[in-house]
């Protein structure tokens, strides 16, 4: 098992491959692995070992981040099941969802025009709620009903909302400067 050969992140942390995940356990196992493979542990070792530690620590971070963030975890699970979410070229969305998007964007523009941090904070909070509810349905689709194509649709919607979240964040940052 070289770092590159470790294909499955769930296996790396020895956790069952499901969307609902024991995050405490993930945290602990991640730290347990990093405590052994972090480059700081190889400072007094040979160059070969230094390189190996760096590769392993990089892999552990990548794996941990993928499993920790729900949207990335969902994408990753779908990939394991052979479903490509095709976020770059599949932009077909239900019309209601698109209408909502337009409304979100208008609100964002209004908040930016008003230079209102409070309005942006409020928007960010509502967005989080909306995303949490979509994540709830994702859990059912992935772990219970195993409807992967439907899950991929929800992932695409969540990606939209996440992008919106980043734009709100950017607006907050620029306003604060």
């Amino acid at each position: 098992m070289t770092p590159e050969a470790t294909r499955n992140y769930f296996e790396l942390f020895q956790l069952p491959p499901s969307f609902q995940l024991d995050l405490d356990r993930l945290d602990r196992r991640y730290r347990e692995i990093q405590a052994r493979v972090h480059p700081d542990k190889a400072a007094h070792l040979s160059d070969t070992e230094k390189r190996l530690f760096l590769q392993w620590a990089t892999l552990a971070n990548e794996a941990y981040n993928t499993l920790k963030r729900p949207l990335d975890r969902a994408r990753y699970l779908l990939r394991i099941h052979g479903v490509d979410t095709r976020e770059e070229d599949n932009t077909a969305m239900p019309p209601e969802f698109l209408l909502e998007q337009i409304e979100w964007r208008e609100e964002l523009q209004a908040a930016v025009a008003l230079k209102s941090l409070t309005a942006l904070d409020g928007l960010a909070a509502r967005l989080r709620k909306e995303m949490n509810s979509l994540l709830g349905s994702l859990a059912t689709l992935l772990d219970v009903e195993r409807r992967h194509p439907a899950a991929a649709d929800v992932v695409r919607q969540l990606a939209f909302l996440e992008k919106l979240g980043r734009d709100i964040d950017q607006a907050q940052t620029e306003l604060e400067e």
Binding site: E32, D47, T48, E49, L54, A57
Partner: protein, 619 residues
Amino acid sequence: MLLQISEPGIKPLKPRRIAVGIDLGTTHSLVATVDDQRPKVLEDGQGRVLLPSVVHYRADHTVDVGYEAIAWQNDDPENTFVSVKRYMGRGRDDLPETHNAPYRFADVPGMVQFETRAGTVSPVQISAEILKALRERAIRALGDDIAGAVITVPAYFDDAQRQATKDAAKLAGLEVFRLLNEPTAAAVAYGLDQAAEGVYAVYDLGGGTFDISILKLTRGVFEVLATNGDPALGGDDFDRAVYDWMLREAGISAPNAGDARRLLSAAREAKERLSEQDSAPIIAPLSDGAAVRCTLSRETFDTLTSDLVKRTITPVRKALRDAGLSIEDIKGVVLVGGATRMPCIRKAVADFFQQPPRVDLDPDKVVAIGAALQANALAGNRGDDDWLLLDVIPLSLGIETMGGLTEKIIPRNSTLPLARAQDFTTWKDGQTAMSIHVVQGERELVSECRSLARFELRGIPPMVAGAARVRVTFQVDADGLLSVSAAEQTSGVEAKIEVKPSYGLNDADITRMIEDSYKHARHDIEARRLREQKVEALRLIEATEAALAEDSELLSADELVVIHENMRILKETSDGNDWEAIKKAADALNEASTEFASRRMNHSIRKALAGQKLEELDA
């Protein structure tokens, strides 16, 4: 549930190796070590621990460093460099304040350089003089050469500034174990001293830089959740605010370089006095025989500097937001850096976090002590109580795309080390080269981010446009330093990469500078190489023996023979005086043990998780 990290993956070496931690500060630098389990800051011959970060170049090309250099500040400002850390990895365009500096800037692209009577020098060379002085101090105090050093940098330093710091250390003849972020170093010192657990904020306002880091401390793990800051904000700016006020009060518009220095020193003295007193008298003699006399009250000072104080709060807010936390989540706020002695800062921090900040540790020494603790651990001197440091990249990395826009490839505050692969394609038939511009920063326009380097990829096999797939891998190591590799995917051809750092030196520059410093003694270079190779060989043999003692059952009899044979050859060659032969033998042993090392890692990880599962069952 206990997190077991007490058993390190691989046992440390037996012989103690002397390692030091160096706080290379804008105004002061320090060196510390761990002696008999206890960290201690090393003194100069006169019992002083702080070395002023000041370097003076004499006509005969010798240098004064520290207090001796300060003495030249007023009389020879052009050749006396203060706060040079502000220029590390910076081009002239990045420096709004240069018009005030008394230096003669050389007209060169890339990192700023100064004309001195001893020739043109770069900030890297000036910093190297400070590091050399500290290295000599350590050798004198410890009676032995040092195996390596941990050098601290502001958490918010970008890649170019980090690289410049590492280059300075190389130039000073130091082996850099690690660049460590200053607030993280402080957290290590504080956390270990106070056995702290929970989420802490480290607010570090030094002479020239401001950092805020949010860390989670749990049993032996120091995890940075987010960091932010301002690499050009510190006590120096408070001095300047007072200085500007003094000029207004005295009706002076353009003081000469010597007067400007004197007035700045007076401003700084007054500022520091105001941390104890309500008002400070200022008397600064001028070169024309006149003098500036005035009295600065704390109230006036607070008004003059209120904008600077506010400027530190914005990064604090951003760091909290990036960490996904609010003020109530912060268990304690640790103050670091001399400038946090100012009452206006303490008040602003207390008001923002709604709790009094912690000042248990000496804000001048805490960073150097943390660095020394980490250096000791990295040298392999720690046995059972080891800890893990998880730090982050402070600023996003991106590449330039069409229309001068940045595409982020690595977001800020990602845990290090990390790598990201990105595919690129050709846009012309038969195209065999392409160029990638890497930038660091949060803005959308490339022009508003820091340019790090341009990578020239060559040797792509000629194909029709769009058919080649070049996978470029951006790797950021634990020091926050970027390296790039590339391979064409369809043919498997490794593209050759030529790096043009925007503000740094390339490896050839560094080698040349090191060799220049030995110019008159060729055999010095050879002697140095031989010594380095011997140390390296010894280290490798010891590491291999330790590994074999622990895990030789992971090898077949044949494999064992090969490793033993390579080890024997290395032992034999390293008794001789041919550094190239030693290096070759070391490389061979490294090569022969690659598979072994890899098996040992798998073994160690499996063991770790098995141990943890048992604990989970127990719990």
